[in-house]
């Protein structure tokens, strides 16, 4: 929050008509044990979304235990002394809803969408697993197997193997927290012990390291009372100090070519380090990313898929989250499959040319206005679903210390000027700031099966 006061004091009128305003209600309260509770009431449907976000992710997992934060996320569903394995999921289904969890560099989230009759039961279950888990060798082994299958299906047996988020970090960052494979090596996953599980739960899964968020058919008063009832008695726990994983922008470009035993079409990922969270450059960078990669009207789509006709598609990524949801070194990455009669040099040169135009002359004014209009609409769209809204608010509260950021992001977007976009294009997306991986199809070996993993993890 250090930097945004300047921008807030200079608000520009919103791009869209007043009819398109949508000030969603947000109420925040902190329990005595440090648990932050966020509520956004909405009675338009008799359902609720619940999100519990813990302020720990891949960056803080133990050394020698790559993939542990994600394995741990799976173990959160494997039972407690009071609610043994299977109960959490069966109760969720019986409530008429679904649940999920995901692990990101800076946080891990647990979400449930249920008809409102199930709200209290789901809160009990979340509180129950915040207290303790059933530290059980059988469920550990079971989920080690399941996670390995997840990695096989998404990485080792899949063309491109997630190189646009796994390998690109390995190339672009120098600190272990930022550059290790968050899915983990099979060796590290197999080494995970019940002691590791106990320590991680104790250190990072206490109420003072978490945000509970509820959106939907509930009043704030009832939501806060339920949070107090089920979570209020959980003692706060000491959280280890966070390591310093900050990294400066790249001064020289990095480049790697990888063979891919499964892919049939070459692909390229180019990543540039984002501004720090809370920097005055963050909103302009978000707008620039959308200008470059947001849909068929975007600059890179028009320049590379159309225009030069060298790419098959253009996709923009912000690590594994969004331009607003990170709290440490993160890449803006452009992923593109390209035509076999082109090459990575041509694709990179084309990207550089399109970026340089913006860095030199600024964006086209009409294009900037269109992009901002769509970003506003997309931001609201992302808050329509109750579980998505609860989760977004919990993430923002966790990373920014303020769920109210959700109401200010539309204003920050509206305030971005052409000069802002020009400035961040020159500063963050200059060629020397770039890490790029060229993924080349490798002819399949005729007889002996090559280790497909060699394609995914060179």
């Amino acid at each position: 929050m250090r930097f945004f006061s300047l921008i807030l004091s200079a608000l520009l009128p919103l791009a869209a008509a007043a009819a398109d305003d949508w000030p969603i209600p947000i109420e925040v309260r902190k329990l005595d044990n440090g648990l932050t509770v966020v509520v956004s009431p909405d009675r338009s449907a008799p359902v609720v979304g619940v999100s519990l976000v813990y302020h720990v992710g891949m960056r803080l997992e133990p050394r020698g235990r790559t993939g542990f934060a994600h394995l741990f996320e799976h173990l959160m569903f494997q039972g407690t002394p009071k609610a043994p394995k299977g109960v959490f999921d069966k109760v969720t289904s019986g409530a008429g809803g679904w649940n999920n969890g995901s692990t990101r560099p800076d946080f891990t989230n647990y979400i449930e969408a249920v008809p409102v009759a199930g709200l209290e039961t789901m809160l009990w279950l979340e509180a129950d697993r915040m207290k303790t888990l059933d530290f059980n060798p059988e469920t550990l082994k079971n989920q080690q197997d399941v996670v390995k299958e997840e990695i096989r299906v998404n990485v080792k047996n899949s063309p491109y193997g997630g190189f646009m988020w796994i390998d690109i970090n390995q190339l672009a960052f120098d600190k272990w927290e930022n550059n290790h494979d968050g899915y983990g090596s099979f060796e590290d996953l197999d080494r995970a012990s019940l002691d590791d599980v106990r320590s991680f739960h104790r250190d990072f899964y206490g109420p003072n390291n978490a945000v509970l968020s509820i959106a939907g058919d509930v009043t704030p008063a009832r939501a806060f009372a339920l949070a107090q009832k089920y979570f209020g008695g959980i003692p706060k726990r000491a959280v280890p100090p966070r390591t310093d994983f900050s990294e400066a922008l790249l001064e020289t470009p990095r480049r790697l070519t990888q063979p891919d035993a499964l892919a049939q079409v070459p692909a390229l990922a180019a990543g540039w380090r984002m501004p720090d969270r809370g920097s005055p450059d963050q909103a302009p960078m978000a707008v620039l990313g959308e200008l470059l990669t947001g849909g068929n009207a975007s600059t890179l789509y028009q320049g590379l898929v159309k225009g030069r006709e060298i790419a098959l598609g253009i996709e923009g990524l912000y690590g594994l989250t969004s331009p607003w949801e990170y709290a440490g070194p993160t890449l803006f990455t452009v992923f593109a499959m390209y035509k076999p009669n082109s090459n990575a040099d041509a694709v990179l040169a084309a990207m550089d040319e399109e970026i340089a135009k913006i860095a030199k002359a600024g964006p086209d004014t009409a294009a900037l206005q269109r992009v901002k209009t769509r970003m506003l609409a997309d931001w609201y769209n992302g808050l329509e679903g109750f579980v998505e809204r609860a989760d977004t608010l919990a993430r923002l509260q966790t990373l920014w210390g303020d769920a109210g950021v959700a109401r200010r992001i539309p204003q920050w977007i509206a305030a971005v000027s052409a000069a802002d976009v020009q400035r961040v294009a020159a500063r963050y997306l200059a060629p020397q700031r770039r890490a790029a991986i060229d993924r080349q199809p490798q002819p399949a070996a005729p007889i002996a099966p090559p280790a497909a993993a060699s394609g995914a993890k060179p």
């Binding site: 008799p46 008429g96 009759a117 299958e149 047996n157 159309k306 269109r370 209009t373 609409a377």
Partner: protein, 472 residues
């Protein structure tokens, strides 16, 4: 010239979608609170109207986010209308719609949509084509104009057709590198044979045969108001929308006769055993399938419940067995897909090579059990509540509601079906579920497709029949 509308707007409430399916308890822990009382969904207001040209219009005024959704459903314009030598043509036609109109080139069109804070795209389904669009609420009129322009006046520019063709060939290559795409293609053919429902994936030949002239002809043949439904939802009034739609779609005329409905696909198919080679694959992609049932059948609701118990959602038998007990896979599923004239039964999982046979054995055992044993009462209640609740969750958001209504219409369910679904679900008994299991999931009737490393998995497959490896 604007034409008057024929019918007066009739207000068709899609009834109350009550959740209640009886009490559910799943709490072994003494202090876990029980579920509260189920709350009914407020009745959905749908204002329905038919234009003189036959276009049906449903308007759903809502006070949610500042967003309007418009979904134009073209029945008969989907994959079922693709010729035998042009599989996947509906998908290419859908893609080409946004590549230019008589007023705008592709870029101007993309920019116009962006300026509305919106999206506009088309997708092909078995029974039709869906053109979905959304924008900020204040841009509703402009959005409907753009939607009409794309639906009625696509220009199929030669240059864009050539580029789409070229890129589609590369995309096909990329898709064929994934085991799921190959497995699904082989399974569709095993299930539907020569029936057009099996023609969902393009081939190199069908892509190469795509021309601007051919696309224009297909567009004229497939897009007609008397086979179309437009659903509009959001911060709008029915009167506003009716006026805008009259202006944008009122003079749309059908050309020639409507396409005939596709025939019903065969109700059964000879079970096949296919092993598609993927050297070096570290998993086997396993799929089972057979013909299923159309949506308009007395079996529909009971079949959906049986599918849920067996293979729908995280707590299905298949997933709990293969993932949570055995650790064979990241996720396993099975269930029915219903279309207008027929359907399919599809199950599968991606498993590490060494457990391919063991995983298939579990599929066979669970398929047999659902058709031979009664589902216990607790498990049946849990699954009814899951199916009812997730239906409710699926329509919380505007696009989900619009999409659900559109898909139901496309596959031939009555407009009130959404409101009838849960009460009908409540009446399904364990005997009916078992009957559905026996009728549709008998393991002997399933084709099995495996994509994987032959050297690693062929031996394990012998217990399930003689697997054939197609030569391309």
């Amino acid at each position: 010239m604007k034409r008057p509308l024929t019918s007066s707007a009739l207000c068709a409430a899609v009834a109350v979608l009550a959740l209640a399916t009886g009490p559910a308890r799943a709490a072994p822990a003494s202090d876990m609170p029980p579920f509260g009382a189920d709350k009914p969904l407020p009745p959905l207001k749908v204002v329905r109207q038919t234009l003189p040209n036959g276009l049906q219009l449903w308007v759903l005024p809502r006070n949610g986010p500042p967003r309007v959704d418009a979904l134009l459903v073209l029945r008969g314009a989907g994959n079922a209308a693709d010729a035998a030598d042009r599989p996947g043509q509906a998908g290419l036609l859908a893609e080409m719609l946004s590549e230019g109109t008589q007023q705008r080139d592709a870029r101007a069109l993309a920019e116009a949509v962006q300026a509305l804070g919106g999206n506009l795209g088309a997708a092909a389904a078995a029974d039709g084509m869906l053109l979905s669009a959304n924008a900020l609420a204040s841009k509703a009129e402009a959005l409907l104009k753009l939607l009409a322009e794309v639906a009625r006046q696509p220009s199929f520019p030669e240059k864009e057709v050539a580029l789409v063709r070229e890129n589609a060939l590369q995309s096909l290559k990329a898709a064929q590198a994934t085991p799921g795409f190959r497995a699904d293609g082989a399974l569709q053919r095993a299930i539907f044979g020569d029936h057009p429902y099996g023609r969902t994936q393009p081939t190199e030949a069908s892509i190469n045969a795509t021309t601007a002239e051919g696309l224009r002809a297909e567009h004229a043949r497939r897009f007609r108001p008397d086979r179309a439904l437009l659903i509009v939802a959001g911060r709008v009034t029915p009167a506003q929308v009716q006026g805008w739609v009259r202006a944008a779609f009122g003079d749309w005329k059908a050309q020639g006769d409507a396409l005939p409905e596709p025939p019903a696909p065969a109700a059964s198919a000879t079970p096949q055993r296919l092993l598609l080679e993927r050297p070096g694959s570290v998993q086997a992609t396993v799929r089972l399938g057979r013909p299923g049932a159309p949506a308009r059948t007395p079996d529909y609701v009971a079949l959906r419940l049986a599918s849920t118990v067996l293979g729908g959602g995280f707590t299905s038998r298949i997933n709990l067995n293969l993932r949570e007990e055995k650790g064979y896979t990241y996720g396993a599923s099975a269930g029915a897909r219903s279309f207008r004239q027929g359907g399919s039964i599809v199950g599968g999982a991606d498993v590490r090579n060494e457990v391919t046979g063991a995983a298939l054995q579990e599929f066979v055992a669970e398929y047999r059990r659902i058709g031979s044993e009664l589902v216990p009462a607790d498990e049946l209640t849990l699954n009814k509540r899951y199916l009812a609740g997730t239906t409710l969750l699926g329509i919380q958001q505007q696009a989900g509601l619009v999409g659900t209504l559109a898909r139901n219409w496309l596959i031939g369910l009555p407009p009130g079906f959404l409101g009838e679904f849960v009460p009908r679900l409540q009446r399904v008994g364990a005997e009916q579920v078992r009957a559905m299991g026996a009728k549709y999931f008998a393991p002997e009737t399933q084709s099995i497709v495996v994509v994987g490393d032959k050297a690693a998995v062929a031996e394990q497959l012998k217990a399930f029949g003689d697997f054939v490896t197609p030569t391309k």
